[in-house]
């Protein structure tokens, strides 16, 4: 009952968001002020709202994706549905808050509430150990970054003497403060959007329900980082150093995460790494500091939202119907060719999604990625090093993306001729794989509640590329396509041979997690022990010692009280002598 109510509320809210986006589209940019508060003379904040093109764009994305996710969830999730749906709704609302906020603090509220919602949703299956730790990790890493974000707000807000976003960038500010503020904001963005070096939480967040992953990766949370930079683009453009940092982070991230995706052995993990990589492409576009770059990045944000949501929902179908999205489990079905046959809609939509991700010409991802490459090329042509770096990285990433997309697609859905029904390279992961033959007869498509959103998003993934008006730079298109093919070919040949070499570095995802474990978690534990020991044995020790000294002194005085009057007299006479001597000392 409660669950149903929440479902209605959730879907209704998403539809409302879409409606708002439709109603607001084309409206003049405007700000709405609400009563606020001042603390001291200089700090004054209100909870202002604003609407402009960016708001509308993001509202549309959020609305559509969340509506899909809400509907899909009705079919997907049954246990603890009420709290789940409520949280998803809150999650969406928080993202909407971020999108419409004109106040840095209101934005921060949405920003952090998203963090909490993601924490709770990732931990939805709190019975599972990986869900628990993944959720905690996600929240803590983003929380850490958010501290930087908060400080960034301080620096910029005090620097510009306002906390209204629309007024930022218009006042005098010292260059140092500008750089510091934007870099600090960037820390928050890096955390939220899972860029290097805070990227490790996102793949670990995969134990959460798949619709939630779709929501996080497509429309909310991680996209918020991109949105924020786009929103504060005027400020960021002023701060060149920050953009350079952003470019470096983005380029490193896209390559690193694409490499990680190449070695991942679970569908959702591959997708997660790909999200990191694609987000980095958006950041790369933003880091160019040009209007083209911003446009390209936002374009990529929209297309990415559609195909990444689609892909996660597809993965969700696999999870829901098969029970797992690990390659090793899926292969058990695939080696008989069952998966493709039993779930044709899923297969087709997922193919479209992977195609869009890999940049197959004609699909949405192709156009948006090319627009980033094109913007970088224009910038590079103007003599910018950043432009060149971005250009090269994005092109390389395109090849790597094609590799892991093809790898995922082939290994998931197709029998490997060379292996003749064996599990192939993933056999090591599961010694029982051959013994335990799954019952493929019960495998079938899920309900249309789940397939509907899939189809809708697939249409988007296929067609959104044309929404921006088709303008193809043929040179760029050619280069990226060729690169994609170069990436796809090795994947195909490896699959053909039934081999899946996974370098240790990539499997361990560059060892960053272990490094964090050693550099942060372990010391914190040690310090915690130290703090407790310090409390107990040092501070508490002093207090205890004081108490014990009091008791001992008390005992001592009791011992001096011998009952013998002559002891008392002696003590008294000694006291007289001592006082005389003492006072003599004091007097002289």
């Amino acid at each position: 009952m409660i669950a149903t109510t929440w479902r209605v509320v959730g879907v209704g809210f998403s539809l409302l968001v879409i409606l708002a986006a439709i109603l607001l589209s084309g409206v003049e940019p405007q700000q709405t002020s609400f009563p606020g508060t001042g603390v001291g003379p200089d700090v004054f904040w209100t909870f202002d709202l604003r609407t402009d093109d960016l708001t509308v764009l993001l509202l549309a994305v959020v609305g559509v994706v969340s509506a899909c996710v809400q509907v899909y969830s009705i079919g997907y999730l049954h246990e603890r549905a009420a709290s789940y749906t409520a949280l998803v709704t809150l999650f969406t609302a928080a993202m909407v808050t971020v999108v419409v906020a004109d106040s840095l603090f209101l934005l921060l509220i949405g920003w952090e509430v998203m963090g909490v919602c993601s924490y709770l949703l990732i931990g939805h299956y709190w019975e599972r150990r990986d869900a628990r730790s993944g959720a905690m990790k996600a929240f803590l890493m983003t929380r850490f970054a958010d501290v930087g974000f908060l400080f960034g707000i301080f620096v910029l807000g005090i620097g510009y003497n306002t906390f209204r976003i629309s007024e930022l960038g218009s006042g005098p500010i010292s260059p140092g403060a500008l750089t510091a503020g934007t870099v600090l904001l960037l820390v928050g963005v890096v955390g939220k959007s899972a860029q290097v070096p805070l990227q490790t939480w996102l793949p670990d967040a995969m134990p959460g329900p798949s619709p939630v992953s779709a929501l996080i990766h497509a429309a909310t949370m991680v996209a918020a980082g991109v949105f924020l930079i786009a929103r504060l683009y005027d400020v960021f453009v002023e701060a060149e150093a920050t953009l350079t940092v952003l470019a470096v982070v983005a380029c490193v991230t896209m390559l690193v995460s694409a490499l990680c995706a190449m070695a991942a052995v679970e569908v959702k993990r591959v997708l997660a790494w790909s999200t990191v990589s694609q987000l980095a492409i958006m950041f790369a576009g933003l880091s160019l500091g040009t209007e083209d770059g911003r446009h390209a990045a936002l374009f990529h944000l929209v297309t990415h939202a559609s195909f990444k949501a689609l892909l996660f929902l597809c993965a969700g179908v696999l999870l829901h119907q098969v029970g797992s999205a690990a390659f090793v489990v899926l292969r058990r079905y695939t080696r008989r060719g069952a998966l493709r046959r039993a779930m044709p809609v899923t297969f087709v939509t997922m193919t479209i999604g992977l195609g869009a991700l890999a940049g197959v010409p004609g699909l949405a991802g192709f156009f948006s990625k090319d627009s980033v490459v094109e913007a970088a090329w224009h910038h590079a042509r103007d003599g910018s090093t950043i432009g060149w770096v971005v250009l090269v990285s994005v092109c390389l990433t395109a090849a790597l993306t094609a590799f892991y997309c093809v790898r995922l697609w082939l290994w998931t859905f197709f029998r490997t001729p060379a292996l003749a029904g064996a599990l192939g390279a993933f056999e090591d992961d599961d010694p029982m794989a051959d013994v335990d033959e799954p019952d493929t007869s019960k495998l079938r498509e899920p309900s249309w509640l789940m397939l509907g959103p899939l189809v809708l998003l697939a249409i988007g993934a296929a067609g959104l590329g044309y929404a921006d008006g088709v303008h193809v730079h043929w040179g760029v298109a050619l280069v990226t396509t060729v690169l994609a093919v170069f990436g796809a070919l090795p994947a195909y040949s490896l699959w053909q041979r039934g081999a899946d070499p996974r370098p240790v570095v990539l499997e361990h995802e560059f060892g960053l997690d272990a490094a964090y474990q050693g550099a942060v978690v372990v010391p914190v534990r040690w310090f915690a022990k130290l703090a407790v020991l310090g409390d107990r044995d040092v501070i508490g020790g002093y207090v205890r010692a004081t108490g014990r000294a009091g008791t001992l002194a008390s005992q001592g005085f009791r011992l001096l009280q011998t009952g013998n009057v002559q002891t008392y007299l002696t003590a008294a006479v000694i006291g007289v002598v001592a006082l005389a001597v003492l006072a003599g000392v004091i007097a002289s």
Partner: protein, 514 residues
């Protein structure tokens, strides 16, 4: 209005007397009802006081324009509902009470928490019984706390500050943890002895102030602060700060706190954390800053430093706790560290933050201790290892509330806990001009990391208590998940946490004086 204020002070104390005079068996039965009614009336009275204060004719502190206001500090008293009587002329002590926008919210918080505690006691009391005395002591504590918040004379402040000591000691000593008689006695004694030492030291500071300024009256002192940052004023400031730091408590004087909170009964913990700790921070704001501004400037960096250490040390200590009540107690150390940092910045932002955090911490930690008490009552222990995991499966509602309270406590924006910490950090970003900014920037960064640690230990608590595999910790037959009285008691706290989180200006607007 001054009559109302006196009534707020007198009614709970008189009720306590009446309860003690009544025969035991009868009073035990009606105590909780009487307590609820009386404390409810006090709550109504305090809200009325606030509303009356806000009327434009009386209230000095409405919102001030953004551009014109100078950078002034809250803390100085703008008396309202004033009563000023001669009391002990030979000692220059007057019975002088008044309130302003700083103290009324705290008085409301006091009234609310005591009311909720009485309400809670309608159904849920410690096993040992003796409800009559428990309720009476709660009411005496209420008088003491409200008196401290409304005292204008320093000696009166000291007096009310001491009023709460023996009742609280009794509450811990008699109704505390029934499994550990020696432990609860030790905890109670440590609490009362450390606090009394602190207040005696504070009294020395007051006397030094009197010697320097010739008066104990905060109103007069606020208008003519004691000048000088060296010598006697400095000594006075150090002594006052030390005394209040024990109460607050500031690292390393916090050692009484974990024991006292852990061993106290639920209502005792709630009042201890929700109210008694506030006496210290309120004193710092009300006395240290307006009366000894220059001397406070001298000690502010040290105050800030110790506060920062408190944030970090308190949070770290939480990681290693195995007792849920101790954990929450240690978290209070961290949170009070933020308040101390806010005060140490001596900036309007920091002080508003400290004041706001006072209220927020009272609400949230009150809720947390109520929840911990509920969990403890149901499992007969507060040891995390014995309680086991997967509370989500066994007590879903209580568990959910615990998650909510933890999130509020870790400073989630949108809930009450955030604004205080945020403003304290903002204050540290831009402390008063006379303070070394670099030092405070360092404090800000460390305190910022402290928020991460805070989040980490709360998440750890949730993970180790609420989450987990229910198969390992099967459901035991608990009578109720969330009883009606608990729902009734906790709803106001939850609601206020959300309301203040979304609309901080409900309080912040009134702390910005010209």
């Amino acid at each position: 209005m001054s009559t109302l204020l006196i009534a707020l002070l007198a009614v709970p104390a008189l009720t306590a007397m009446v309860l003690w005079v009544l025969p035991v068996s009868f009073a035990d039965r009606v105590a909780a009802v009487v307590g609820s009614v009386i404390s409810g009336l006090v709550l109504v009275g305090s809200v009325w006081l606030w509303i009356d204060y806000l009327r434009p004719a009386d209230g000095p502190g409405t919102l001030v324009g953004f551009e014109t206001a100078p950078r002034t500090l809250p803390g100085k008293l703008y008396p309202f509902a004033e009563t000023d009587l001669e009391w002990i002329p030979p000692l220059d002590v007057r019975f002088h009470i008044a309130v302003d926008s700083i103290s009324i919210p705290l008085i409301m918080l006091t009234a609310l928490l005591v009311f909720l505690c009485c309400l809670y006691s309608l159904r849920i009391t410690p096993r040992i019984g003796r409800t009559r005395s428990l309720i009476a002591l709660l009411l005496v504590i209420e008088t003491g706390v409200i008196g401290t918040f409304s005292a204008v004379d320093l000696v009166l402040f000291f007096l009310f500050f001491e009023v709460v000591l023996i009742p609280m000691w009794l509450v811990i000593d008699i109704w505390g943890d029934e499994h550990d008689a020696a432990g609860r006695r030790r905890a109670a004694t440590t609490f009362v002895l450390m606090t009394v030492l602190g207040s005696a030291v504070m009294l020395l500071g007051f006397l030094l102030i009197h010697r320097q300024a010739g008066t104990f009256d905060l109103e007069v002192l606020g208008n003519n602060p004691v000048a000088g940052g060296r010598g006697v004023p400095l000594a006075a400031a150090i002594l006052v700060a030390l005394g209040l730091a024990v109460k607050m408590p500031l690292w390393p004087l916090h050692i009484w706190l974990p024991d006292a909170h852990a061993k106290a009964p639920t209502v005792g913990s709630v009042l201890l954390a929700g109210l008694l700790l506030k006496l210290g921070s309120y004193g710092l704001i009300r006395i240290l800053l307006p009366v000894l501004p220059e001397a406070t400037t001298t000690i502010a960096p040290y105050l800030g430093g110790f506060s920062t250490v408190a944030i970090i040390a308190g949070s770290l200590a939480c990681f290693a706790q195995t007792d849920v009540k101790r954990l929450i107690a240690y978290s209070s150390v961290g949170h009070m560290g933020f308040i101390g940092l806010g005060i140490a910045t001596m900036s309007p932002e920091g002080l508003s933050g400290a004041l706001f955090a006072n209220i927020a911490h009272g609400l949230i930690t009150g809720l947390l201790f109520f929840l911990a008490g509920a969990i403890k009552d149901r499992h007969d222990t507060s040891d995390l290892r014995t309680i086991g995991r997967a509370l989500n499966a066994r007590l879903p509602r209580i568990s959910g509330l615990l998650v909510f309270a933890s999130l509020a406590s870790l400073g989630l924006p949108g809930l009450a806990g955030f604004w205080g910490e945020m403003l304290a950090l903002l204050g540290a970003y831009r402390p008063a001009d006379s303070l070394p900014r670099t030092t405070f920037l360092v404090f800000m960064v460390i305190a910022g990391l402290g928020t991460v640690l805070t989040a980490a230990y709360f998440l750890r608590l949730i993970r180790n208590l609420c989450q987990g595999d229910p198969a390992e910790y099967p459901t035991t037959a608990f009578a109720v998940d969330l009883s009606r009285i608990e729902l009734l008691t906790w709803t106001p706290l939850v609601a206020l946490t959300v309301v203040l989180g979304l609309a901080p200006w409900l309080l912040l607007d009134y702390w910005n004086f010209v």
